[in-house]
C-alpha cells in the first residue's frame, strides 16, 4: 500500500551538509555513515559569551540533551563560539536540525550540522590563533566574537602591488 511519494515529503533540514571534518580518522564513506546515524550536532556562530546553560535550555526543546561540549580557544581555553550538542536519540537530534537550526540564540542566528561524534581534542578551535578558522580570515567587526578577525586587515599581504 504505502509508497512514500518521495517527490513531495522532503525533509531537507535533515540532510548532511558539504562539510567534512578533515581530521576525521577514516574515509569519506565512514564519515558519512556516522553522520547519517549520529545523535550529535555541531553548533556554530555562537557568541563567545553564550553559556552552556543557554545552549542547554534551547536545545532541550527538541529532546533530552545528553551532553554539551563548549568549543574552546586552543590557546586561551575560553569559549570561541561553537559547541557540540549530543542527544540520547537520533530523533531528538533530527528535531533540532529541523526547528532549532537557523533560529536565534543570544540574538544570533545559529547553525547546526550533523557531527560524526565527539572525540577528545575536537573541542578546540583549529585556527592558527587558537580560535575557529572562520575567525582567522573574517574581515567584519563582530563584538560577540572577539571583534575583528585575527589576521590584521591592514597587513601587507592583503594589499595589491608591492
Amino acid at each position: 500500500m504505502s509508497i512514500k511519494l518521495n517527490a513531495l515529503f522532503s525533509d531537507s533540514y535533515m540532510d548532511i551538509s558539504q562539510y567534512r571534518d578533515q581530521d576525521f580518522k577514516g574515509n569519506r564513506y565512514e564519515q558519512e555513515k556516522l553522520l547519517k546515524q549520529s545523535c550529535s550536532l555541531y553548533v556554530g556562530n555562537l557568541s563567545f559569551y553564550t553559556t552552556e546553560e543557554q545552549v542547554h535550555e534551547l536545545f532541550s526543546k527538541s529532546g533530552d540533551v545528553k551532553r554539551i561540549v563548549i568549543g574552546l580557544d586552543k590557546v586561551k581555553k575560553t569559549a570561541c563560539g561553537f559547541c557540540f550538542v549530543e542527544y540520547y536519540t537520533r530523533a531528538d537530534a533530527e528535531h533540532a536540525m529541523r526547528f532549532i537550526n537557523g533560529t536565534r540564540l543570544d540574538d544570533r542566528i545559529i547553525r547546526t550540522d550533523w557531527d560524526a561524534g565527539f572525540k577528545e581534542g575536537r573541542q578546540f578551535g583549529r585556527g592558527k590563533s587558537g580560535g575557529q578558522v572562520r575567525d582567522e580570515y573574517r574581515q567584519d567587526y563582530d563584538p560577540a566574537r572577539g571583534g575583528y578577525g585575527k589576521l590584521d586587515p591592514t597587513n601587507v599581504i592583503f594589499t595589491t602591488g608591492t
Partner: protein, 770 residues
C-alpha cells in the same frame, strides 16, 4: 531522487552499500510521480489546463504504467487531502477517457481503505472516504452507492458493547464528507439522507460527553465556547443543510469540466462493511474544537466565517492537513499555508494563527513536537512581516487576558512558546500593557505567567538582560539572580555544625582525593540524629550529606559540565551516602537548598542524579510532595522535573520490557520451544511508581477539600485549580503508559469513596477511550 550509479559504489571503500529495499526507481516513474504530485502548484497556465494536459499524458501512459499510476493516485488521495478536489477531478477526467481505469481505481481505493482501517490509520481513512465521496461529484461513483456506504457506517452506532470512540469515528467520517458531497447526495437520495441524518442526530443526543472538560483549553464558555468536535460538526452540517447545501469555499476544478464528466459512466461502490471491532483497534481520541477568533477580531478585510459555518470547518481541515504534510520543512509549510487557495476571501493570517495554537494547545498532546510550532510561526512572520506579527501579538494579548480560565497544561505550553519566540525577537514586548498583573497576588495566573515567562527568558539569555527589558515596575516578577547559596562560606556563623569539616572536605577534593579517601574523611562527621555511634556510622547522616554535597556543588558551581563532572567523579561517595530512602530524599533537599535561585540547575542535576541512580523516582516524588516544597509546588520548574522523571521512568521500563521480549525470542529460537523464563511483570514497576504520584496527589487534594469544607470556604482557590489540573496533566501526558493499568488505579485509588471532585478527573480520563 538520486539514482545511484555504479561508480558511487566503488568510491565507498571496503564495505559495499546496502541497497535500499524499494525497487530501483526508473526515470519515467519518477517523472509520473512528480507530475502528479505537483499538479496544481504555481504555474503560468491555469489549473484546468494543467489538469487537462496531465490527464492526456496519463491516459497515454496507462498501457505501460497503469499499476504505478494507480498507486500514485491512491497515495495522493491518502496523503494530500488538502488537494483533494484537484485529484478527484483528475481521476474524473481519466475515468471519462477510460472507464476500466476508473473502475480499477475505485477498487484500489476500497482495498486501501480496508488496509488503513486495519492498521489504525484513522485520519488517513477519513481522507480516503472524503475522496470517494468527492468522486461522486466527478461522476466516477454513483451517488446511491455512496449513500449505501454511509448507511453502513452509520449503522455502527447500533452495535453493542463497542467503545464510543468507534461509533464516533464512523459518524465523523460521514459528517465530515458532507461539505463536499452533501448537495449531490441530497439531490439524488434525499429520503435516505434525511433518515441517515436523523439516525446521527439520535446518536449524538445519547452519546456520553464526560471527556469534554478534560480537553478544553479554557473552562469559560465566553467569548468562544470550546465545543466537542462532533457537536460542532453537527451544527455546521445542520447550517449547511439549512442553506440547501450551498457551499462556496471549496475549490472544485471539476465544475469547469462538467460537460466532459457528465458524459462519463459511473461505477458503483462495492458494498462495504465496516471491519468488526477488535481489541487491537485504536480509534482516534475525541477532541475539542479550538476557537480563539471570530469575525469581530479581524479589523479590516474579509470577514472570518462563523464558528458553525461549514467554511470554517473546511478551512481548518485544510490548514491542519497542510501542517500534517509539511511540518518537517518549516519554510515549505509556511509558504504552503500562506498560499492557501481562496485566501483572498478569508482573513487567512487569523485562521493560520488559530489553527497553529489549536494544535499547540491540543490535549492530551499536540500532533507534533512543540518547538515545531515556534519555528513555523517565526517563518510565517518572516514571510508576512507586515501583517502576521500583529496578528500574533493580538493573539498573545487575548490569551493573556484569558489566563484565569486557561488549562494549566496549556499555560505551560503558552509560556514556553512565548519566551522562546521573544528570544528570537530581542525580547521586544510591550510589558507595560500587562501592568494590571502587578497589582494582583503573585500566585494568580497573570502575574504567575509573567514571572514564569521571565524565568524562561532568563534561561535563554542572562539575568541582567531581563532586568533591562522589563520596566522597573515589574521588578517583583523578575527572577532571582541564579547564584548558589553556600552555607559554609566565609559569612557562615562559626558555630555552624560541619563548618570545619566542610573546609577539610573541600581541601581534600581540591587535592584530588579519591572516593575512599573522602569517605574516610567523612567518617568524622557526627550524626545529629543519633546519640550513640552505630557501626562505622554508615546509617543515614544528614550532616554528612550536607557537608559533602554543599562543598562539592560549590566547587563545581561554574557550569553544568563542572557539576556533572563532580557528580560523576564522586559517584561512589554519593551512592554510599544515599543508600537509604531518607538519604535519597535528603540529597535532593540539600541540592535544592544550594541551588534554590537557579531552578534550571536543580532540574539538570536531578536528571543526572536519576540517570546515575543516586536517587530514584520515588525519592523525587517524595521531595516534590514534601511540605518543604509546598511553596514551590505551583512553579513551572517543579513540573518540568516531575514530568521528566516520569518520562525517564517509563522509558526505562519500556527498555527493560523490550530487552526481556528480545531475550525471550532469542531463547525460544535457540531452544526451539516456548521459553519458560518467569516473566517479570515490568508493568508492575512503572505502576508502583506512578501509583505513588497519584497517591500523593489524592492526599494533597483531599486535605485541601476537607479543610475547605470544615471551614466553610470555597474550594476553588487558585492553588486548587492549579493542583487539580496538574493531576489531569499527569494522566494526559503519560496516558499511553497509564492506560495499561487502569484496573489497578480503579481498584486501589480511584474508588467510589473518593471525593467526587478528584474522582471526576479519573472518570473524564477514562471517557477518552470509551
Amino acid at each position: 531522487m538520486s539514482r545511484r550509479r555504479h561508480s558511487d559504489e566503488s568510491d565507498a571503500g571496503s564495505q559495499p552499500h546496502k541497497r535500499r529495499r524499494t525497487s530501483e526507481p526508473i526515470e519515467i516513474e519518477d517523472r509520473l510521480e512528480s507530475l502528479i504530485c505537483r499538479v496544481g502548484e504555481k504555474s503560468t497556465s491555469s489549473l484546468e489546463s494543467n489538469l487537462e494536459g496531465l490527464a492526456g499524458v496519463l491516459e497515454a501512459d496507462l498501457p505501460n504504467y497503469k499499476s504505478k499510476i494507480l498507486r500514485i493516485l491512491c497515495a495522493v488521495a491518502r496523503l494530500l487531502p488538502e488537494k483533494l478536489a484537484v485529484y478527484t477531478t483528475l481521476v474524473g477526467l481519466l475515468n471519462a477517457r477510460n472507464y476500466n481505469f476508473g473502475g480499477e481505481f475505485v477498487e484500489a481505493m476500497i482495498r486501501q481503505l480496508k488496509e488503513t482501517l486495519k492498521s489504525n490509520l484513522y485520519s488517513e481513512a477519513v481522507y480516503l472516504v472524503r475522496f470517494l465521496s468527492d468522486l461522486v461529484n466527478c461522476h466516477v461513483i454513483a451517488a446511491p452507492s455512496m449513500v449505501a456506504m454511509f448507511e453502513n457506517f452509520v449503522s455502527v452506532t447500533q452495535e453493542e458493547d463497542i467503545p464510543q470512540v468507534r461509533s464516533d469515528w464512523y459518524v465523523y467520517v460521514v459528517l465530515s464528507s458532507l461539505p463536499w458531497v452533501g448537495k449531490e447526495l441530497y439531490e439524488k437520495k434525499d429520503v435516505e439522507m434525511d433518515r441517515l441524518l436523523n439516525q446521527i442526530e439520535g446518536y449524538l443526543k445519547r452519546r456520553q460527553k464526560t471527556h469534554v472538560p478534560m480537553l478544553q483549553v479554557w473552562t469559560a464558555e465566553k467569548p468562544h465556547p470550546q465545543e466537542e468536535y462532533l457537536d460542532c460538526l453537527w451544527a455546521q452540517v445542520q447550517k449547511l443543510k439549512k442553506d440547501r447545501w450551498q457551499e462556496r469555499h471549496i475549490l472544485r476544478p471539476y465544475i469547469a469540466f462538467d460537460s466532459v464528466l457528465c458524459e462519463a459512466l459511473q461505477h458503483n461502490l462495492p458494498p462495504f462493511t465496516p471491519p468488526a471491532h477488535s481489541d487491537d483497534a485504536v480509534y482516534p481520541m475525541p477532541h475539542v474544537v479550538f476557537r480563539m477568533f471570530d469575525y469581530t477580531d479581524a479589523p479590516e478585510g474579509p470577514v472570518m466565517p462563523g464558528s458553525h459555518s461549514v467554511e470554517r470547518f473546511v478551512i481548518e481541515e485544510n490548514l491542519h492537513c497542510i501542517i500534517k504534510s509539511h511540518w518537517r520543512e518549516r519554510k515549505t509549510c509556511a509558504a504552503q499555508l500562506l498560499s492557501y487557495p481562496g485566501k483572498n476571501k478569508i482573513p487567512l493570517n487569523y485562521h493560520i494563527v488559530e489553527v497553529i495554537f489549536g494544535e499547540l494547545f491540543q490535549l492530551p498532546s499536540p500532533p507534533h513536537i512543540d518547538v515545531m510550532y515556534t519555528a513555523l510561526l517565526i517563518e510565517l512572520c518572516k514571510l508576512q512581516p507586515g501583517s502576521l506579527p500583529q496578528v500574533l501579538a493580538q493573539a498573545t494579548e487575548m490569551m493573556y487576558m484569558r489566563l484565569d480560565t486557561m488549562n494549566t497544561t496549556c499555560i505551560d505550553r503558552l509560556l514556553n512558546w512565548f519566551s522562546h519566540h521573544l528570544s528570537n525577537f530581542q525580547f521586544r514586548w510591550s510589558w507595560d500593557d500587562w501592568a494590571d498583573c502587578l497589582t494582583q497576588d503573585i500566585e494568580k495566573p497573570k502575574p504567575k505567567f509573567v514571572k514564569e515567562v521571565l524565568d524562561k527568558c532568563m534561561r535563554l539569555s542572562y539575568h541582567q538582560r531581563i532586568v533591562d527589558i522589563v520596566p522597573p515596575s515589574f521588578s517583583a516578577l523578575i527572577p532571582a539572580d541564579p547564584v548558589c547559596s553556600y552555607k559554609y562560606g566565609e559569612e557562615a556563623d562559626s558555630s555552624l555544625p560541619g563548618l570545619a569539616m566542610a573546609t577539610t572536605v573541600g581541601n581534600a577534593i581540591k587535592n584530588r582525593a579519591s572516593n575512599e579517601e573522602i569517605l574516610i574523611v567523612l567518617k568524622d562527621v557526627p550524626n545529629p540524629n543519633q546519640d550513640d555511634d552505630d557501626d562505622g556510622g554508615d546509617g543515614f547522616n544528614p550532616l554528612k550529606i550536607e557537608v559533602f554535597l554543599q562543598t562539592l556543588l560549590h566547587l563545581a558551581a561554574k557550569s553544568f559540565s563542572h557539576s556533572f563532572s563532580a557528580l560523576a567523579k564522586f559517584h561512589e561517595v554519593l551512592k554510599t551516602l544515599t543508600d537509604s530512602d531518607e538519604g535519597k530524599l535528603h540529597i535532593l533537599r540539600v541540592l535544592y537548598e544550594f541551588w534554590r535561585n537557579h531552578p534550571q540547575m536543580i532540574s539538570v542535576l536531578v536528571d543526572k542524579l536519576i540517570r546515575t541512580q543516586i536517587v530514584d523516582c520515588a525519592a523525587v516524588a517524595n521531595w516534590i510532595f514534601s511540605p518543604e516544597m509546598a511553596h514551590d509546588f505551583t512553579r513551572f520548574y517543579v513540573w518540568e522535573i516531575l514530568h521528566s522523571t516520569i518520562r525517564k521512568m517509563n522509558k526505562h521500563v519500556q527498555k527493560i520490557q523490550k530487552e526481556l521480549d528480545e531475550a525471550k525470542v532469542k531463547l525460544e529460537k535457540q531452544h526451539n520451544k516456548k521459553a519458560s523464563i518467569t516473566d517479570t511483570n515490568t508493568s508492575d514497576m512503572t505502576k508502583d511508581d506512578n501509583l505513588f504520584f497519584f497517591q500523593r496527589f489524592i492526599m494533597l487534594l483531599t486535605e485541601h477539600l476537607v479543610r475547605c469544607e470544615t471551614s466553610g470556604v470555597d474550594i476553588n482557590t487558585t492553588w486548587y485549580k492549579n493542583c487539580i489540573e496538574r493531576l489531569q496533566q499527569i494522566f494526559l501526558m503519560h496516558h499511553v503508559i497509564i492506560q495499561q493499568y487502569m484496573g489497578t488505579l480503579e481498584n486501589l485509588l480511584f474508588t467510589a469513596e473518593l471525593d467526587h471532585h478528584i474522582l471526576a478527573v479519573y472518570q473524564q480520563f477514562c471517557a477518552l477511550q470509551l
